[in-house]
């Protein structure tokens, strides 16, 4: 068993080395495949991040009537927090709202003076609500409208925001669909190309395979070295595609930051480098093993 395994590995290495150009060509194809995969992974991460950051900016605010008591408002806050859709509720009292307003407009003479003229605080207390999912704002809105203490509420910003929220929901849905579709399509093409390359490499060895059968080699003894070759392809291609990725991300990162300020794909790459590298290698090896084993089957029937 051990002798057979060591021979299989030895022959795998031998074949790999002696068919140098063919091996190099196969590896290059595989690198391209893996880069396509990396691209898809990053595309998905980017769109997800972009949508997340947009989503984070969406919220609805409930403004309360001047005469509404703080207790009543806090009660509503409490009941909102009990809803499973709600992620966070922030209470902004009238005083606090005024403070922020003043701070924001302290450069503006007219506003500051106008405020000084007033005795009462013209601003309304509000609750700022964030939901887990943008789709849930509709539900929260309905909940508030059917609430027993509805009379406390002056207005809900959902009405103004609903079109934007709806549109964003649609965009996210489409982006997800496009992302999934592209991932499946490109993965399929890439796998097919790699498979075909390995198939051609094995096709060029079909006579040798026949001879091995004739000399009394078992199928697993013939298949073994090709599988080992597939593994070597996978490891080398995995490492190289990762190395190629590093400068691409390094120089691309600032441009992406312009579009999505929260996104730093360079640091994403650094913090996930071990994961990405091992995924690449695992994927490459799996691709190599699968392609070799499937491609060789046909020639083992004599």
């Amino acid at each position: 068993m051990f002798t057979a395994l060591s021979r299989v590995i030895k022959y795998g290495l031998f074949n790999f080395w002696r068919s140098g150009w063919l091996s190099a060509a196969t590896i290059i194809i595989m690198i391209v495949t893996l880069i396509v995969f990396e691209g898809l992974i990053f595309f998905n991460v980017l769109t997800k991040q972009a949508l997340e950051s947009l989503k984070d900016k969406i919220d609805i605010s409930v403004y309360f009537n001047q005469e509404s008591s703080e207790d009543g408002i806090l009660k509503i806050k409490k009941s909102l927090e009990d809803l499973s859709e709600v992620k966070k509720v922030e209470y902004l009292s009238k005083e606090k709202a005024l403070e922020i307003f003043k701070e924001k407009h302290k450069e503006d003479q007219t506003i500051s003076e106008a405020l000084r003229e007033l005795d009462v605080n013209p601003l309304l207390a509000s609750l700022n609500i964030k939901a887990y999912d943008t789709k849930d704002y509709g539900i929260i809105n309905t909940y508030l409208n059917n609430n027993s203490s509805k009379n406390l509420i002056n207005k809900i910003s959902y009405a103004q925001n609903s079109t934007i929220i709806d549109r964003l929901n649609r965009i996210m849905g489409t982006m997800n669909k496009i992302g999934t579709f592209l991932t499946i399509l490109f993965s399929f093409i890439a796998v097919l190309i790699t498979f075909n390359t390995i198939r051609l490499a094995i096709y060029s060895n079909r006579e040798e395979i026949g001879i091995m059968r004739l000399v009394g080699a078992s199928n697993s003894f013939i298949r073994g070295p090709y599988v080992v070759e597939g593994i070597i392809y996978g490891i080398i291609a995995g490492i190289f595609s990762f190395i190629i990725l590093i400068p691409a991300i390094y120089y691309g990162s600032p441009y992406i930051k312009i579009f999505i300020p929260e996104m730093n794909i360079w640091s994403y790459l650094i913090s996930n480098s071990m994961n990405i590298l091992s995924y690449q290698i695992i994927f490459g090896v799996a691709l190599g093993i699968a392609s070799s084993s499937i491609a060789i089957r046909k020639y083992l029937r004599v």
């Binding site: 002798t3 057979a4 021979r7 068919s19 026949g210 059968r213 004739l214 009394g216 199928n219």
Partner: protein
């Protein structure tokens, strides 16, 4: 050793069917040297394919060193083939392996330990007269030398039977004679040799058993036969 009982082989292609072997029966005993003669397509190659289990008979029974070819499963085939050495007109060496590695491959495939390989392979190559070309690749060897490597490989597992399918077809008369000498030597050491050939001179000089084929039928089977085709 080898028994054919009323064996027929019919190849079907779409609606056409061609009879490659028609009701052939014969026995080959241990230590025999048998020549199979006949025109191309007479059935010699079919006999060989049946013996090495590459094909199964359409009718009848083929038994090779106690293996029934009909009942042989795909995964038992390698075991059968380790008992049968085969050489071909086109040598069929592994081109990316040296002479040594080509011969060693048959032992490795049989799962034999490395010590045996180091010991037997040089011996086998010496027997066929290629002691000084051990690390040559097939592309660096002449036709006669390639055939000798093939013989060394075929003999390395000490097979019961050595099948030679037109072994001299690509060789000049001198090399042909050398190869036949080797086959005779192998036969003297106790291995059954089955030689399929077109070469009248070789067969007539051997003075051994000859089975003649025509259109898939055995037309003659003589103990000290000559190459006679009507």
């Amino acid at each position: 050793m080898i028994t054919f009982q009323n064996v027929s082989k019919v190849y079907k292609m779409n609606e056409h069917s061609s009879v490659a072997l028609d009701d052939a029966s014969f026995n080959i005993e241990a230590k025999e040297f048998v020549s199979l003669v006949g025109k191309s397509g007479a059935g010699k190659s079919t006999i060989i394919k049946l013996i090495i289990g590459e094909e199964k008979p359409t009718k009848g029974k083929v038994i090779v060193s106690s293996h029934d070819i009909n009942k042989l499963k795909m995964n038992q085939l390698p075991h059968l083939r380790r008992h049968i050495g085969v050489i071909f007109q086109d040598f069929r060496l592994l081109n990316n392996k040296t002479a040594f590695e080509n011969v060693a491959f048959a032992l490795e495939a049989a799962g034999r330990p490395q010590v045996e390989i180091e010991e037997y392979v040089p011996q086998a190559l010496e027997m066929v007269g290629l002691k000084d070309k051990v690390s040559h690749f097939p592309s660096e060897l002449s036709g006669g030398e390639k055939q000798r490597v093939a013989i060394a490989r075929a003999m390395i597992n000490h097979p019961d039977v050595l099948i030679a399918d037109e072994p001299t077809g690509n060789l000049d008369p001198f090399n042909s004679a050398e190869i036949i000498k080797l086959l005779l030597k192998i036969n003297e050491l106790g291995t059954v040799v089955i030689l399929a050939t077109h070469d009248k001179n070789i067969v007539d000089n051997l003075n051994k058993r000859v089975i003649s084929f025509e259109d898939g039928k055995i037309i003659r089977d003589e103990q000290k036969g000559k190459y006679i085709l009507t």
